[in-house]
Symmetry: C2
Subunit: 431 residues, 2 copies
C-alpha cells in the first residue's frame, strides 16, 4: 500500500510502499540505516542483507543524498527513531542518483549560500517544517473565519493611486493609463466589500519597497485582512484574541512533530491560551518610562520597545489608543479622548514584535475629510472611498495580520526570510 | 437575538435583530414592505402601523435605498418572499439615511458606469451572489486538496527573469537589481516546492499584460496551481476531474440561493457529475474538421474552437496531447508519440472555455535542455530549475486553474470582470 511517511504510525506491522528522497546513511554491523523524506515527514529505513537481493544490497552503497527512491517495507515501532517508527526494507528501487554531490549539506552554510540555493534549502528538515506550519496557520485562519460567516474575497494588487505618498511603493507603467502601484494593503477596498458582504477577509501578497535590511523585512509578504461591518473596536479585540488562540491551538494540535523538529518551546505557545494583556498607548509609555525608555506622548513605539514589551509578557499584548496624529486618517477618533484613535496593535510574546494592526474605521464623512486634510493628503483619489460613508455608512472595523511574522513567532524562527518559500528582500530577488 | 439574514429560516416565529441596508420599498394598503440586505442574503420586511411607534412609522417614508438600519422583528414563514421567510418589524432604528440618491439603481446602467461604481455595484444582488460563490469555489478547492495532504504554499509575484519573453509581462524596477516582472504563473517555483513538500498548491494573483479586450481577459486574476511529485499525466487527469466535481457539488449544496439569484440553470451543473469526456488533440481536430473548421496538426485551437467543443458537450472535455512545438518546454514528451506532450486542457461546458491547463513535467535534464533550445530560450536563468532534475528528479505533474473563469462558468456569468471584486483590464484600473 502506497503511504505517506507522516501516516506510517497508523500502519504498524503493515507492508507499505513509500517514495521519497534519501537523507543520511550510516551502518552498524550488518545493518544499514538511512533516513528518507517524502515532503510529509522523515522516516528511518533499516536495510538488512537477509531481506534484500544482492543487487539491492549493493545499490545501497551507491545512494547519495537526495537520490530519489521507491521503497517497500514493513512498519515497526521504534521509539528512538524520528516519528516513533522505522521501516524494515524489503525492496529498493532507485529512480535517480544525482551525478554531483548535493550542495546543501549538514555543514554550516552562510545565509547568502542558503538563500541562493533556496529551491533546494526548502527540502531541509527545518525549512520544510516551517512551510508546513505556515500552511497550518493559513488553514487555521480560514477555518476560523469561514466558520463565523466571513466571506473570503480579494482586493487588487495593481492600484491606481499612491494615496499616502510613493516612498515605499513599487511603481510600474500600466498600458496607456500611466503609473500604477503594487498594493501595500487592501484595506480601503476591503471596507467597500464589507459594506457589500458584511464580514469579509482577504489573504493576498502585499508589497513594501522599503530600503530596510533587517531580519523582519520582506519586500513581498502575505497579509490577511478582515473587515467587518457593525464591529466596534472592542468586538475586534475579542475577534483577534480568539483568532490568534485558534491559530496557536491548531498548530499545537496538528504540527507537533514539526514544532519538535524546530525545537520550539511549545510551553511558551500554550501560555498564550490565557487572556491577552491589554494596555493603552499611554500605559505602555509609563511602562516603558519605568524601564528607562525616554518616550513622550506622540512618540512612536519602535521595534525595540515592542520587543521589550513582548519579552516581558507571556501572552500577546494589545496596545490601543495611539495618538491620532501618528495614525492613518481612516482610524476612528476616540470620543472620550479625541487625541487618540480606536486602534490596536498586537505584540507577540518572546520579542517577536507586532503581528496584527488594526482599528475601528471613521464612519463620518466630515471627520474623515478633515482627518485627510490634517494628514496633508489630497481628496480626489478618495472620492470612491467617501461613497462608503455617503451611502449607508455603518460602524466598522478591521485589521491586518502579517502571515510571515505570525509564522516566525509560532515557529520561533529568528528570521522572517525563512517563513516564506522564496523571500524577496532589498538585495535578494533570486531564485 | 442578533441574526444574519441568511440564517433567518432557522429562527421561525422567533424575535430577532438584523442589521443592514435598505433595498426597495412598496406599500399595499396599510402595510409597508421593504427589502433589507446584510451581505449574507436579502429578506423582506413587513411594517404594520399597529406594531410601530408613530415616529418609527413616519421614519419609514424617509428611508432611501442603501440607508443603514437596525431592525427587530419576528420571523414568519412566507413562501413567496425571497428566502422563504419575512420579518414582521417591531422596531426600526435608523443609522444613516444618505443625503443623495444612491447612484446604482434598478435601471439599466452601461458597463462603464457600473465598473466606475464597482465599489457600490458589488452591493447589488447578483454581484454579491457571484462574490459569495467565488468564496465557495476557493473553499471547495482548499478543502479538497487539504484533505488529500496537499500543502498550500506560495510562489513569488516579483520574479527576476522574463524566461519566455517580455511581451505579456508587467515590468518594474527593483531597487538596484534592475527590472523584475510580475508573475504569470508560479509553476517553476511550485515544482521546487513539490520536491520539498510532496504535493503542494498555490493560490495567488497572476498578471498578464496582454493588450486584449475580450470578455475573458483580466490583466490581474487569481490562479490555483497544484504541483505533485510522483504524479503522472493520468493521475493528474483523475485529480482534476475529482476536484472540479467537488467544487461544483459544494456550490450546488451550499450556494443554492445565490445560484437562484443568478438564475443559473443548475441542471447543467448537475450534468457534470457524470464522467468527463476525454479527447486527444488529434481527435479534437477530426471532430472540429467534421464541423467545418479547417485545422491541421500543429494549429492551435482557438477560443472559438473551445467554445464549439464546450457547447457540444454536457460535461467538461479534457483535450490531451497537443503538438510539442506549440507547448511550453517543460511539458513532458509522450514516449509513444514524441510529436505530442503529456498535457491536458479542460474545457468547461456551455461555451465557457478553458478553465484548467497542465501537464506532466519533463523530469530528464537532457531532454529539458534540448526542449529549451528548440524554443529558443536561454539556459542561464533556468540553472536553479535544472537543479530539480539534477538532485533526485522524479516524475511529477501539475496544473493551473483560473479562479475567475471557473467562477464565471459556475455562475453562468457572461463577463469575467464580474467574477473578481475590482477587475483590472486594458482600459480599467479604477476604482
Amino acid at each position: 500500500m502506497l503511504c505517506e511517511v507522516s501516516q506510517l504510525p497508523n500502519f504498524l506491522e503493515k507492508k507499505v510502499i513509500v517514495r521519497g528522497w534519501v537523507g543520511h546513511k550510516r551502518k552498524s554491523g550488518k545493518i544499514r540505516f538511512m533516513t528518507l523524506r517524502d515532503g510529509s515527514a522523515v522516516v528511518q529505513l533499516v536495510f538488512s542483507a537477509d531481506e534484500l537481493s544482492d543487487g539491492e544490497w549493493a545499490s545501497f552503497s551507491e545512494l547519495k543524498q537526495e537520490s530519489s527512491v521507491v521503497i517497500s517495507g514493513v512498519v515497526r515501532n521504534e521509539p528512538r527513531a524520528p516519528g516513533g517508527v522505522e521501516l524494515l526494507v524489503n525492496s529498493l528501487e532507485i529512480v535517480q542518483i544525482p551525478e554531483q554531490h548535493y550542495p546543501v549539506t549538514h555543514k554550516e552554510h552562510g545565509p547568502d549560500f542558503l538563500l541562493t540555493h533556496r529551491h533546494l534549502w526548502i527540502r531541509s528538515r527545518k525549512q520544510a517544517a516551517i512551510l508546513r506550519i505556515r500552511h497550518m496557520v493559513s488553514r487555521a485562519i480560514r477555518s476560523f473565519l469561514d466558520e463565523q460567516g466571513f466571506v473570503e474575497t480579494s482586493t487588487p494588487i495593481l492600484t491606481p493611486n499612491a494615496c499616502e505618498g510613493t516612498t515605499d511603493l513599487f511603481t510600474l507603467p500600466y498600458f496607456d493609463l500611466g503609473d500604477v502601484y503594487l498594493s501595500q494593503s487592501g484595506q480601503l477596498y476591503g471596507e467597500a466589500l464589507a459594506m457589500a458582504l458584511g464580514k469579509v477577509y482577504t489573504f493576498t501578497p502585499a508589497f513594501r519597497a522599503e530600503r530596510s535590511k533587517t531580519r523582519k523585512h520582506l519586500t513581498e509578504f502575505w497579509m490577511m485582512e478582515p473587515e467587518m461591518a457593525w464591529y466596534d473596536r472592542d468586538m475586534t479585540l475579542e475577534l483577534i484574541e480568539s483568532l490568534i488562540k485558534h491559530i496557536v491551538q491548531m498548530c499545537l494540535d496538528r504540527c507537533e512533530s514539526d514544532l519538535h523538529v524546530l525545537e520550539r518551546d511549545t510551553s511558551a505557545l500554550r501560555n498564550i491560551l490565557a487572556p491577552f494583556k491589554r494596555m493603552t498607548y499611554k500605559e505602555a509609555l509609563s511602562w516603558l518610562n519605568e524601564r528607562g525608555r525616554a518616550l513622550n506622548f506622540g512618540d512612536n513605539l519602535g521595534a525595540e520597545d515592542e520587543v521589550l514589551i513582548g519579552e516581558s509578557h507571556e501572552v500577546p499584548v494589545f496596545i490601543t489608543g495611539y495618538p491620532a496624529k501618528n495614525r492613518a486618517f481612516y482610524m476612528k477618533l476616540d470620543d472620550t479622548d479625541p487625541d487618540v484613535v480606536l486602534d490596536m496593535d498586537l505584540i507577540a510574546p518572546e520579542g517577536f514584535g507586532e503581528i496584527v494592526g488594526g482599528s475601528q474605521r471613521e464612519e463620518k464623512l466630515d471627520v474623515l475629510k478633515s482627518r485627510l486634510k490634517d494628514h496633508g493628503l489630497p481628496q480626489k483619489p478618495f472620492e470612491w472611498y467617501f461613497d462608503l460613508r455617503r451611502y449607508g455608512s455603518v460602524p466598522h472595523s478591521g485589521f491586518g495580520l502579517g502571515l510571515e511574522r505570525t509564522v516566525a513567532w509560532i515557529c520561533g524562527a529568528a528570521h522572517i526570510r525563512e517563513c516564506i518559500p522564496f523571500p524577496r528582500m532589498l538585495y535578494r530577488i533570486q531564485p
